[in-house]
């Protein structure tokens, strides 16, 4: 890895220092091993992160293709499209939202126009779930990303969509999403991770930091659908203050190996946080999910539901921890992991954890793993539904409670179609 240098134009001193720190961390922190509790059951990365390099400006042909395929929804408040970490398109917010003070900036724009905002929030939340080394790599390289600032009382109707594409063999991308939602604001965003080709092996180390200030409403959706050669890290944090409502929903379909770390810190009372994940694992894919629900304040709710369907010889690891700090009374914290094994060779691991230091709490976790109930299947078959369709119905039904949480009908349809296509190829 090269010594850190300024990657964007006129980077301030503090950013240079953060980049140096990142380089330092990446160099000095040990490569994780399966002996680390945070990496238990994970099969280790056979690929050296150092093999992956940032890519040069993509061809106009690739850009065109990329733009054509970046059409998740007809309606959005604004969109950014990055290809190999190069910004190829950014639509701007409506004049109305601009007038209300909403900011939707690339990192470069933030450096140039809102350095104080950037300094206050950018790269301030690392992960605590094992990939600190890779957060370092992200910090030293990050240049693609969106900073969304929603001022007090502003509600944004349509989603803001960030597309992050890869297209280069051994390409490294470090997408970054930063959301700052002020009091009484409301915002919904979608991050889409995708590969332009089926064949390039890429590495993505994405970071997302959400700051939900008092009473803010934030709903972030992530669709990870990289090609099955790509290695993906997704290092997400949320800080939820008093009376906030935060919802995270992840759809995990792609990558050879996808490591997903998602930490929510509840620092104020009255917060209500939901964490959902839907994963379809096939072939030799490995989805490694680590979650952390920290309750530092009383009277808040967090609810997690991670559902995995496993085909072929795929693997999933769910390792979650609910931590209720001393004094965080009247906490309601839940954690549920359900795994549906669709092939006897698939391998589901579940490590649901609790650390509770307050007694007046409602905390529970549940983990189940099983196959499709043959009696359920018989019931569907006995109505004349074919084996293939019956299996599809059951698997889609398994995910329905998560799909149901999506707030847009067209997104729901898009996701259903995506899943149906996947299952119809799988279930025959």
């Amino acid at each position: 890895m090269n010594n850190t240098q300024a990657i964007l134009k006129s980077e301030p001193k503090w950013l240079e220092e953060l980049r140096n720190q990142g380089t330092q961390d990446y160099k000095t922190l040990p490569v994780p091993t399966a002996k680390d509790e945070n990496w238990r059951f994970a099969s280790l990365f056979s690929t050296e992160a150092a093999e992956f390099k940032p890519s040069s400006e993509p061809s106009s042909q690739s850009k065109d293709l990329c733009l054509k395929q970046s059409q998740l929804l007809d309606q959005s408040s604004a969109e950014s499209i990055y290809l190999d970490d190069h910004l190829i398109k950014k639509t701007s917010l409506s004049d109305d939202l601009k007038a209300k003070g909403v900011l939707y900036l690339s990192i470069q724009e933030a450096i140039d126009e809102h350095p104080d905002l950037l300094k206050k929030y950018f790269l301030k939340q690392s992960t605590e779930l094992g990939s600190e080394k890779y957060f370092g790599l992200h910090a030293s390289h990050v240049k693609a990303g969106s900073i969304l600032y929603v001022p007090k009382g502003v509600e944004i109707e349509d989603s803001i969509i960030n597309y992050y594409w890869t297209d280069t063999e051994k390409g490294l991308i470090c997408p970054h999403t930063l959301i700052i939602a002020e009091a009484h604001s409301k915002i919904s965003t979608i991050d889409v991770f995708n590969s332009l080709s089926d064949s390039n092996q890429a590495m993505s180390i994405s970071v997302s930091n959400i700051y939900a200030h008092e009473t803010a409403h934030v709903f972030r959706k992530v669709i990870q659908n990289f090609n099955t050669k790509t290695v993906s890290f997704q290092l997400d944090t949320t800080i939820a203050e008093k009376d906030t409502s935060v919802k995270n929903l992840a759809l995990n379909l792609g990558s050879a190996k996808a490591r997903f770390e998602n930490q929510v810190k509840i620092n104020g009372s009255g917060a209500h946080v939901k964490m959902y994940s839907l994963t379809v694992a096939e072939d030799q894919q490995e989805f490694d999910q680590r979650t952390f629900q920290t309750h530092n304040a009383p009277n808040s709710v967090s609810d997690l539901l991670y559902k995995n369907a496993l085909f072929d010889t795929s693997r999933t690891i769910f390792s979650g921890l609910i931590q209720v700090a001393e004094g965080a009374q009247q906490t309601d914290a839940y954690q549920t992991n359900r795994n549906l094994l669709l092939d006897p060779r698939a391998d589901a691991n579940s490590l649901p954890g609790l650390e509770i230091l307050a007694n007046d709490v409602k905390c529970s976790h549940g983990a189940t793993t099983g196959n499709i109930d043959p009696e359920e299947l018989f019931y569907l078959l006995s109505r004349g539904i074919s084996h293939r369709v019956a299996m599809q119905l059951i698997v889609l039904g398994f995910f329905e409670e998560i799909i149901d949480e999506l707030d847009s009908e067209s997104l729901i349809n898009t996701i259903r179609t995506l899943l149906e296509t996947k299952f119809s190829a799988k279930l025959s």
């Binding site: 589901a348 579940s350 650390e355 509770i356 230091l357 007046d360 529970s364 976790h365 189940t368 099983g370």
Partner: protein, 474 residues
């Protein structure tokens, strides 16, 4: 059962914090001194007049112990406070275990009398072994069992007299290298029970062992191996106490169970260590085809207990169960759990763990359920419930579940609760004190598990829980 017999039983029973808090002046013929080295092992081995292979087994284990790091990357850092150089690894009065209580030295006899052991033996036990520090002072089994070929002896006697029976399994269920403390036990083990129940023999009454630490700075390392031959059945119970010393004491046992085809073993532990004992125990069973192993475990007391009884389900339709109650009071950490390894089709396992944390007590559940191969129709059910009494009490749950295969189902559920103010109010309105109400609620919380213990134990456990609850409210 009438009230009078109930009361009688309540009085007679063994384990009691206060009852256990006494010790006799030391008067040992054999003392391996302080600290651990090859010489310590040579000394233990020569006192026991052991076969060469046993000595070699010990020395190899010592090497493993020295090599292995403390498991503090996942376990409590309190382990760092064990000073192995300050521990006395072998203390005995040199006697062979007596067959009658009359022959037992007076101070030892009085110890066990105060703990109620001889009385229990008369009442409901098929055999008793009473260990005082490193060696058994008393060991006896009903004669008819001897005639049926049941063997119930200490570890030294077992290895010396019946190597053909015990050697094939000794150190095989739990290899010395399993963990740092199994290595330590393998190096310095002394005492414990070696039991063999022949084919088809079903013991109607339990066998019991009682482990007593008397000397300060002492480490107790009993070793137990129980083999139930095809179709055999037995229940084994162990109780443990130690006086309250100024300095920490170490108890590190290894317990291996082997249930051959169609055999059933039920292993019951009631531990009530004083709160400066490090209790680091490795327990595991092999269950062959259609065999059943049940660990029923109650952990009260100690400073730090680390214990995760396991069953390796090796044969088709084997069943494993762990039922455990843990109670952690101020300054205590009960780090307990269970391990179920499914290695054959149609194996089932069940884990029910209930913990109570009082004051600053901390209880931790660690579990492992493993269905690593392409098995069919295996089932696991795990339930962990934690009750937190005070606002600064703590509980943790760390299960690890791996599932593969066809028509397997694994289900894990955990919950955390407290005794609600409304419940307490309701009971107080009926005239109970707050403490009584709390005790009642706690007993209710563990009630269904208490039923798994023999009557004589469950009555006592209820009383122990009441004692622990004293002063927890108000």
């Amino acid at each position: 059962m009438s009230d009078s017999t109930l009361n009688e039983q309540e009085e007679s029973i063994l384990v009691d914090n206060e009852k256990g808090n006494f010790s006799f002046p030391e008067d040992y013929q054999f003392d391996a001194g302080t600290g651990l080295s090859k010489e310590t092992i040579a000394y233990i081995s020569s006192v026991k007049n052991e076969a060469e292979w046993v000595k070699e087994f010990r020395l190899k284990a010592l090497e493993l112990f020295e090599k292995k790091p403390m498991p503090t990357h996942w376990a409590s850092s309190d382990l760092e406070n064990i000073v192995f150089d300050n521990i006395r690894y072998y203390l005995s009065k040199g006697q062979k275990p007596s067959r009658t209580w009359e022959e037992v030295p007076d101070d030892v006899k009085e110890t066990f009398e105060r703990l109620g052991i001889p009385e229990q033996e008369r009442k409901f036990l098929a055999g008793v072994e009473a260990q005082f520090d490193s060696e058994a002072a008393y060991s006896r089994m009903k004669e008819d069992l001897e005639k049926e070929g049941v063997i119930f002896v200490g570890s030294s006697e077992g290895l010396e007299k019946y190597p053909e029976i015990f050697k094939p399994y000794f150190g095989k269920v739990i290899p010395s290298a399993d963990n740092k403390f199994s290595a330590l036990n393998s190096a310095v083990f002394s005492g414990g029970s070696f039991i063999y129940v022949p084919k088809g023999v079903k013991l109607k009454q339990p066998l019991q062992a009682y482990f007593r630490i008397n000397a300060e700075n002492f480490g107790q390392f009993e070793r137990t191996l129980i083999i139930a031959d095809e179709g055999a059945e037995l229940t084994y119970m162990e109780g443990c106490t130690a006086p309250k010393f100024e300095t920490a004491t170490l108890h590190s046992a290894v317990v291996e169970l082997v249930a051959l085809k169609n055999a059933k073993i039920q292993y019951i532990t009631v531990q009530n260590w004083s709160n400066n004992v490090f209790n680091l125990v490795t327990k595991r069973a092999h269950a062959e085809e259609n065999a059943e192993v049940k660990w029923i475990d109650c952990n009260i007391g100690s400073r730090l207990t680390m214990k995760y009884p396991g069953v390796v389900l090796k044969g088709r339709k084997a069943r494993g169960e762990v039922l455990s109650i843990a109670l952690a009071n101020d300054g205590q950490h009960q780090d307990t759990g269970a391990k179920m390894v499914h290695l054959a089709d149609e194996t089932t396992s069940n884990i029910i763990s209930k913990s109570i944390s009082i004051g600053e007590g901390r209880s931790t559940y660690r579990g492992q359920v493993h269905m690593p191969k392409h098995l069919k129709s295996c089932k696991n059910n795990t339930e962990c419930d934690a009750l937190l009494i005070n606002s600064n009490s703590r509980t943790d749950t760390y299960p690890a579940i791996t599932t593969r295969g066809d028509a397997n189902t694994v289900q894990h559920e955990a919950s955390v609760s407290k005794v609600s103010a409304e419940q307490i109010f309701y009971m107080m309105q009926r005239g109970l004190s707050e403490g009584e109400a709390m005790s009642l609620a706690v007993n209710g919380f563990v009630n269904d598990l208490l039923k798994a213990f023999p009557m004589e134990y469950s009555v006592e456990l209820k009383r122990l829980i009441d004692m622990e609850m004293e002063g927890s409210v108000g």
